[in-house]
């Protein structure tokens, strides 16, 4: 008989609103405390100290509008956050400061999280849904200069972009963008040419989340359906369906592959976190703790594999922290 699934290692309470996004920062060089950033529906970003399990800092920069994306830029002292106030803010948190240093007005009213990619030392690309309904805009940070605007062909009818993933094969190579659209298709964009390289209809419903493993050239996407779709990218830059996996309940809000590419976690509308082996998509665990939709899952970037954590934020205002499959 298989072991019963583990309980959360601990639970963070006190956001007093639904948690929409999580981001770990535990692997820095400096001897700091492991930190978890969470963005919640009431517009606050909480900085959690994972040693004390308390909120260190509370950031209020989105006019009490829901924060749905938080990322660190380089170190844990520089933060990027995206909110429903249609702004992307850049924070300076060094030495206890809590100030917004810069911001981008996206003019986009959707829920599409932006995607950040380090292309060179001190140079970042950020992809985000643009003002026009079907467009994606890519900016360079910190200069905020526009790199390109990705417009589907007229009559493509992809709908709004729902989720984005910027990636590059290795340092210095051409960055590419994977975008999941409202009509259920996943599109691979070439940024320099602004052209569609490949398009694959993975779902019947909007793509809610996707993640991509550039080493194996394989990605996974989830939608509001009961199906996870795994697809691969061949050498001709064509997307192909690799396999699908049927779920017990419909609706996937977020998918994250662990940085070591061993396992992946999904955040389900059915309140459950599911863990799969990434190689064969072998179901490994169903973590049933939350009492409402799970909005986001995130793996920590601990240097030591045995310390690695999984965090999940839910509509029930809680963030659950799990330690699972740390020995492999």
């Amino acid at each position: 008989m298989a072991l019963p699934p583990p309980d959360p290692q601990f639970v963070l309470r006190g956001t007093s609103a639904a948690v929409h996004t999580l981001h770990f920062s535990c692997g820095g060089q400096e001897p700091g405390v492991p930190t978890l950033f969470s963005g919640s529906e009431n517009g606050f970003i909480h900085v959690w100290n994972l040693k004390t399990h308390r909120v260190d800092t509370e950031l209020d920069g989105h006019g009490r509008k829901s924060v749905y994306c938080v990322e660190t830029i380089g170190s844990k002292n520089r933060l990027l956050s995206q909110g429903r106030d249609q702004r992307i803010c850049l924070w300076d948190l060094a030495e206890g400061r809590t100030s917004v240093t810069d911001s981008v007005f996206t003019e986009n009213v959707g829920f599409c999280r932006c995607s950040l990619l380090k292309v060179a030392e001190g140079r970042w690309l950020v992809a985000m849904a643009a003002k026009a309904l079907e467009e994606v805009q890519v900016l360079e940070l910190p200069s905020k200069t526009s790199v390109c605007t990705l417009k589907p062909e007229v009559g493509a009818k992809l709908g709004m972009p729902m989720c984005l993933k910027l990636w590059q094969l290795n340092c210095g190579s051409q960055p590419l963008l994977l975008a999941g659209y409202e009509d259920g298709s996943v599109v691979l964009w070439n940024l320099s040419m602004g052209k569609v390289l490949s398009q694959l209809v993975c779902h019947q419903e909007p793509v809610m989340s996707l993640d991509f493993d550039s080493e194996k050239a394989k990605g996974i996407s989830g939608s509001s359906e009961k199906v996870l779709s795994i697809w691969s990218l061949n050498e001709q830059q064509n997307l192909q369906v690799y396999k699908t996996h049927k779920l017990v309940n419909a609706g996937i809000a977020d998918i994250t592959i662990r940085p070591d590419k061993k396992i992946l976690a999904t955040a389900g509308w059915d309140h459950r976190i599911r863990i799969f082996g990434w190689k064969k998509l072998k179901p490994l665990a169903v973590l049933d703790y939350h009492t409402a939709t799970v909005h986001c899952v995130s793996f920590s970037d601990h240097k030591n594999p045995s310390e690695r954590l999984l965090a999940a934020g839910s509509k029930d205002h809680r963030i659950s922290i799990w330690s699972i499959y740390t020995q492999t």
């Binding site: 008989m1 298989a2 072991l3 019963p4 699934p5 583990p6 017990v248 309940n249 061993k262 396992i263 059915d270 309140h271 459950r272 082996g277 190689k279 064969k280 072998k282 179901p283 490994l284 665990a285 169903v286 049933d288 499959y325 492999t328």
Partner: protein
């Protein structure tokens, strides 16, 4: 040999003379007789002459004075002499004891029994019969053996020794019979061994006839309980014993045949044993055939299933008897399918017959079924019809079960009759299987050896429960149009509580909701669907009684409803009436009403409560209580909600019962619904106690009862009686006397005059009670 006989004769004469004389010579003479007897080779060698002499000797011995009978010697004469003669003389002595005391005779008799002289006697009788002795005499002798315990106990007036108790005596007798049969079998075996033809055993077979007499003429219980197990053992592998046993039962006279056959059937451990013991008795003997094929199966129903299995198995074990088996099945089916039998015979008997049919069916083979398929089909159809017509649920179920079995037996290739009872069970079973399978595909073991990650237990990963709607209008939408089965299920489960929580919202759509619920059918297999729907219906009706009751009562008499739906309507009306008239539920609804904001806005309600409280406290403080017991809890009081609406429940139901529709004929075929209607009216009448309309209702109800008083269905008549009883309970006496005297007297005369009509004791009691209460009421009226 002649010399021996002469010596014996001489000894007997001398002994007789010595006994006449008396004195010391008697002892020597008796000793001489015994010696001569032994020398002659025992009583078996006796001729007619010796028997007569010995008889005279024994009689004189019995008359001889005490002194002439030396202790131990005279008893020996009785025990060693010819057993038949000895017994006769002893019985004579018992009847009129002369010089021999009663106690002595009993003692000798006891010894006689214990030394196995009975079997010697029977063997002697058999031998004499073989030599053509007088059969009457022998029969009389055997009868005496059988009646021995009675004789003794009559004589001793209850102080008889234990060996003469029937429970001891008859097993002894049974043992003796077995011994004799053993001897017969040995002699037969000897003859066969000696080269004689087997069939030439006629003399022995005749003797079997006589042996069997005592077995069966008496209380056969005890003897059979010894005999059947022994015979079962002995016939196991011995054809001679089998033959003897067959002969034994064939020789049983007709008047004892039933007891014997039944005894064998009840005691045989299995059909094969029974077949070994009885042989083809049922084919040869008319009486046995009647008992087996008619009496046990059709006229009695007290036997256990094991007996039925024995009996029908016995019939099926021989080709000659199989014809009887088919005949039996046809007769059973005829009874099973007869509407009169279904109506008038007790349910236990019908169950018994159904069992017999099922056992018969299991014994039938394909070609036999082929030969009577058409008849089976016809009787099955008739039987199903009259069983399903029955008012008793167990009879209906019985009908369905038997019909399904017959159908599956006769239609091996075609479609088979299936009733829903089982279909649902099978569905559940299938559903369970399917669930298991899907679980398997989720089983992580399926992927094992692909990865080194060990999965956790994921069996709890089930589908999330669908959220039920929160508004009543949403419920209507889901119930009428939704294709989402899960949502539909959740709605059905939650509807009642929603209706209870939101009375105002329910009132807006009450009739529509009632209509939907009335037509709601089970889309998926929900546990307790019928109850859930009914509770929702009751909730709707009690929330908004008048319009919903109007709707439901009008639908009861309209076209195109199934009987089930019409009965649902009745049930819902009764349950809602009960809820409305019950004070506790009133408080509950008031409580839920208090959550309604508009009531809280009323300024008066709170202050009036305070006022009441203050007054109560003042009274309490100034009152001294002398009672020591607990103060009685005050019952919650409130207006009877049923009062204002009772008419809407009652009168529309009573109006149209005599107008048949094309699909619904209360006074004709649909008497079951009529029965339910009558019972419903009775309950409504009972619940209407203390309401204003009760007198008018009582009047209408009596009219209704009058119109139906000669209905043929007992369920309906029972309902009429409960109508009367609840009318007597609910309507106040003075109203009864003033407004309903005529009707009451009419009813009284009907109940009193038609007493014979009520065949069941329950009815009789009820009727008697009513007569008493009506008479009382009338007497009160006359007095006042």
């Amino acid at each position: 040999l002649g010399a021996m006989a002469a010596a014996l004769e001489r000894a007997l004469r001398e002994a007789a003379a010595a006994l006449e004389r008396g004195g010391d010579g008697a002892a020597a003479a008796l000793g001489a007789v015994r010696a001569a007897l032994a020398a002659a080779g025992g009583p078996a060698a006796f001729g007619e002459r010796e028997r007569a002499l010995f008889g005279a000797f024994l009689r004189s011995l019995a008359r001889a004075p005490r002194a002439a009978r030396p202790e131990g010697v005279w008893q020996g004469c009785f025990l060693e002499g010819p057993p038949g003669l000895a017994l006769c003389v002893l019985l004579e002595a018992l009847a009129s004891p002369g010089s021999v005391r009663l106690g002595e005779v009993i003692e000798v008799l006891e010894q006689f029994l214990q030394e196995g002289r009975i079997s010697a006697l029977m063997w002697e009788v058999c031998q004499q019969q073989a030599q053509a002795g007088s059969p009457e005499l022998q029969e009389a002798l055997l009868n005496k053996i059988v009646c021995l315990p009675d004789h003794v106990s009559n004589k001793l007036q209850g102080k008889n020794p234990a060996v003469f108790f029937p429970q001891n005596y008859f097993p002894l007798l049974g043992g003796a019979v077995i011994q004799v049969l053993q001897k017969i079998s040995d002699s037969l075996r000897g003859k066969i061994a000696g080269g004689l033809c087997y069939r030439d055993g006629s003399s022995s077979e005749v003797s079997v006839h006589l042996v069997c007499l005592p077995i069966f003429s008496s209380t056969s219980e005890e003897i059979l309980s010894v005999l059947v197990p022994r015979l079962t053992d002995l016939t196991k592998s011995d054809c001679i014993w089998q033959r003897i046993c067959w002969r034994l039962v064939e020789c049983v006279p007709d008047r004892w045949m039933e007891a014997v056959v039944l005894g064998f059937v009840q005691r045989a451990p299995g059909a094969d044993v029974l077949s070994r013991l009885l042989g083809n008795l049922v084919v040869k003997n008319k009486k046995a055939q009647f008992v087996v094929t008619q009496k046990v199966l059709l006229l009695q129903y007290c036997h256990t299933t094991a007996v039925l299995q024995n009996l029908l198995g016995y019939l099926s074990l021989d080709s000659l008897r199989r014809a009887l088996l088919i005949k039996v099945l046809q007769e059973l089916l005829e009874t099973w399918g007869s509407s009169s039998a279904v109506k008038h015979s007790p349910p236990e008997q019908q169950q018994y017959i159904s069992k017999a049919i099922l056992i018969c069916l299991s014994h039938l083979k394909e070609p036999e079924i082929e030969s009577c398929r058409q008849e089976l089909l016809t009787s099955m159809m008739e039987g199903v019809k009259c069983h399903l017509d029955s008012n008793l649920p167990q009879i209906r179920r019985l009908g369905m079960i038997v019909a399904e079995s017959i159908s599956s037996k006769i239609n091996t290739d075609g479609p088979v009759l299936k009733f829903q009872v089982k279909v649902i069970m099978k569905f559940v079973w299938c559903a369970g299987l399917r669930g298991n399978k899907s679980f398997k595909s989720d089983d992580p073991g399926h992927y094992s050896n692909d990865d080194d990650l060990i999965p956790y237990d994921m069996s709890e990963d089930k589908e999330l429960k669908i959220k039920a709607p929160v508004y009543i209008r949403d419920c209507i939408e889901v119930l009428t149009g939704s294709e989402d089965v899960d949502k539909w299920e959740a709605t059905v489960k939650t509807l009642e509580s929603l209706v209870r929580k939101n009375p105002a919202a329910t009132r807006e759509v009450s009739v529509e909701l009632a209509k939907i619920l009335l037509h709601l059918e089970e889309k998926t297999c929900i546990e307790g669907f019928v109850e859930l729907r009914q509770r929702a219906q009751v909730a709707v009706l009690s929330t908004d009684p008048i319009p919903v009751a109007k709707y439901l009562t009008s639908q009861f008499y309209s076209l195109n409803y199934s009987l089930r739906q019409r009965m649902d309507i009745l049930d819902v009306l009764v349950l809602a009436a009960q809820e409305l008239s019950y004070p506790k539920s009133h408080r509950k609804t008031k409580h839920s009403g208090a959550q309604n904001p508009c009531i809280q806005l009323l300024p008066g309600s709170d202050s009036s409560k305070d006022w009441r409280r203050i007054v109560d406290e003042r009274i309490k403080s100034k009152t001294r209580r002398f009672a020591t017991g607990q103060s009685q809890a005050e019952l919650a009081s409130g207006p009877n909600e049923f009062n204002s609406v009772v008419g809407h429940f009652f009168f529309p139901l009573i109006q149209h019962f005599d107008r048949p529709l094309t699909t619904f004929d209360l006074l004709g075929e649909d008497h079951f619904v009529l029965g339910r209607l009558v019972h419903t009216l009775a309950i409504l009448m009972y619940l209407a106690v203390n309401t204003v309309a009760v007198t008018a209702m009582g009047k209408a109800l009596l009219e209704f009862v009058w119109a139906l008083r000669f209905h043929t269905d007992s369920y309906v008549r029972q309902g009429l009686l409960s109508c009367i009883s609840s009318m007597l309970l609910s309507v106040p006496t003075e109203r009864l006397l003033q407004d309903m005297t005529e009707e009451l007297l009419e009813t009284q005369s009907w109940l009193g005059g038609k007493m014979w009509w009520w065949c069941m004791p329950v009815f009789f009691l009820l009727v008697m009670q009513f007569l008493c209460s009506i008479s009382l009421i009338v007497i009160v009226a006359v007095m006042s």
